[in-house]
Amino acid sequence: VSAATTRGAVALAILLLLAGCGSPARKRVPFDYGAYIARDPRSVLVAPVVPVVQERRASRFFLATITEPLAERGYYVFPVRMSLELEKLAGFTGRAPEDYSGERFEERAAELAALFGTDSVLFVRIVEWDYRIKGLGEAIENPVDPVGTHTVAMEYHLTDDRGKTLWRAKQQIALQKGGGNIFTEIWNFFASPLHPEVGLAREANRTVIEGQRHKKGRRTYYPVDPMLVGSYHPRYERDRARRRGTSSP
């Protein structure tokens, strides 16, 4: 089999996968909340964000928009700016992504939990954060081109204080650029040298935590299994009673 054929097959597979993700008829396996319900965490520490994307500041920008939705969901959220400073002092930042995978990952969760005294740790991987145009499976660096999309994609992984998985979710939000609307063009003209992704990250965080699912304007949200409400949420007692009965959120 030639290399070109293999590449073609891979590209086709990716296209098929992408098509599958966009289809609302796709059957989803609902997330198993068993461990989450059993642990019922009261506090969340947002771990140092694992740097997967090129934009090095993305993780910092992301941190600015995660506290509010987590707190509004009913959790105690450790102060992110202070936590990052303490993590720096304790040598948690500047580690390689491999240091947050497999067995080491459980170790990290336990170390962080011991340092902060938290019930749970939220690990986030930013897998996409860019303003590049995409064509034929290739991302081309071209921030001034008005055609294309802004995209952010994040993977969320909540563990208990020993690294056991409580909740996992992905969120991806794409904002179509261009399209002839004069306001859009003005926005893009001013926004492109900066970071419209921060606004998208804010929406990604909010919608993945609350589990909002809809299509709004030119933004597409993907269905997700939300976080359960925490102990400071007005709906907590009611939800917890219901969960005990059916063991689903």
Partner: protein
């Protein structure tokens, strides 16, 4: 370039304000926007500090619970400047308001006390 910076930031600020009329539990002021701004331009950290104080004052005045982490975050600004008395004051308030923070607050209060003695 000056204006290029202002427009998206203003939009983010407006977006934050837009949420103020909804059913949120806490008063956040411009928390997200100012934290983002402090990462974007480190010289704006003072603005974030002022916003934290505004959240504390306004929450107190209206009898609402102060959002998690805000008292600790504010106290840490004092800690970093070596103003350990004020730092301890806010760390203690955080621990009182949010028992979940006790382990961490006890640790930083101890560090601040060591700072006082040296």
């Amino acid at each position: 370039m000056r204006w290029a910076a202002v427009v998206p930031l203003a939009a983010l600020a407006l977006a934050s304000v837009g949420c103020a009329s909804d059913t949120r539990t806490y008063y956040w002021s411009s928390y997200q926007y100012d934290l983002y701004r402090s990462y974007y331009e480190p010289s704006k950290a003072k603005k974030f500090e002022a916003t934290l104080l505004r959240i504390i004052k306004k929450s107190d005045a209206s009898g609402r619970k102060i959002p998690p982490g805000v008292l600790a975050e504010y106290g840490y600004f004092f800690y970093q400047r070596g103003e350990f008395d004020s730092a301890i004051h806010y760390f203690e308030r955080e621990a009182l308001e949010w028992p979940e923070s006790e382990v961490l607050m006890e640790r930083v209060i101890e560090q601040a006390r060591e700072g006082l003695e040296s």
